[in-house]
């Protein structure tokens, strides 16, 4: 089974985004929430690209993922839990994966830095958390994020820069 390429993903995201948005809006009745659900569905499609058959059409699977995400959002809304968008994978649930090197001391420091970043990330605004997680944790390119968010690459770059600045400021505030 061949893994989905970036070009294939970009094509699917561009083609399916409008229909997914309509479906999400129908289920959630809130444009902002629907946009977050679509974004999360597409990010998950990318995250699980290795397990998907590229010979089969992506739209039925994408619709199922979106429906499940919308149901999660609705359940959270019933329980009056705050909406956290892509951060429905909250930073606390992100696991730290530091590649082991020959130097255990360096690995430990890297792990500590990752932990500090995870804590600071949780304090950022949802859009900043989302863009940083999409780019660094999920490994999406600037172009892919632009397709998912229906934005220009320049706007995504600008947002990433601001999010990094905010993250650095948060780390410095917590560790003066």
């Amino acid at each position: 089974m061949e893994a989905m390429s970036e070009e294939q993903f970009n094509e699917i995201a561009t083609r399916e985004r409008g229909q997914l948005m309509k479906s999400a809006l129908g289920m959630l009745g809130d444009e902002e929430l629907a946009a977050d659900a679509v974004q999360e569905a597409l990010v998950n499609l990318w995250l699980f690209r290795d397990r998907m058959d590229t010979n089969r059409p992506a739209s039925p699977l994408l619709s199922t993922i979106l429906r499940n995400i919308c149901l999660m959002y609705l359940r959270n809304r019933k329980r009056r839990q705050p909406h956290i968008g892509l951060e429905s994978i909250p930073p606390s649930q992100l696991h730290i994966a530091v590649t082991a090197s020959d130097n255990p001391q360096q690995d430990l420091e890297a792990r500590e830095r990752a932990e500090a970043v995870r804590q600071a990330l949780a304090r950022l605004s949802p859009p900043h958390q989302a863009v940083l997680q999409m780019h660094y944790s999920a490994g999406l390119s600037i172009q892919q994020i632009a397709n998912i968010r229906n934005a220009t690459t320049a706007a995504v770059k600008q947002m990433l820069l601001r999010a990094r600045t905010a993250l650095r400021a948060e780390i410095e505030r917590r560790n003066p």
Partner: protein
């Protein structure tokens, strides 16, 4: 350790070290068909089928009346039968009366002729 001493590369590495949950469990959770979604289309199909049947029944009913445009939908079979037998009765009565009149006329003419003839 002072986190404020992060270089840009270290910050990038730290961010990349934070991995999203890509476990099999989460994959199943996201890609399994939700139970509600399985039931809901069936409900909609049921409603759509009922509406379609109603439309077909209504169109058949309407077309059956349009074949007999002079017949009002309020007329029942019993009323039609009653009217028909009444008309037949009237027709027979009229025929009998006409026959009696003809016989009477013939009798008068015959009597008149017998008087005229020597």
């Amino acid at each position: 350790m002072k986190q404020t001493s992060f270089t840009e590369d270290q910050l990038t590495d730290a961010l990349r070290a934070l991995k999203a949950d890509t476990s099999d469990e989460r994959f199943r959770l996201l890609t399994s068909e939700p139970p509600k979604a399985r039931i809901r289309p069936l409900l909609w199909y049921g409603v759509a089928a009922s509406v379609a049947m109603l439309i077909v029944a209504a169109s058949i009913w309407q077309s059956s009346w349009s074949i007999h445009p002079d017949t009002t939908p309020t007329a029942t079979t019993a009323t039609v039968d009653e009217n028909l037998s009444q008309l037949v009765g009237q027709s027979i009565a009229a025929q009998t009366q006409a026959q009696q009149q003809r016989t009477l006329t013939n009798d008068i003419v015959s009597e008149h002729l017998s008087l005229v003839e020597p």
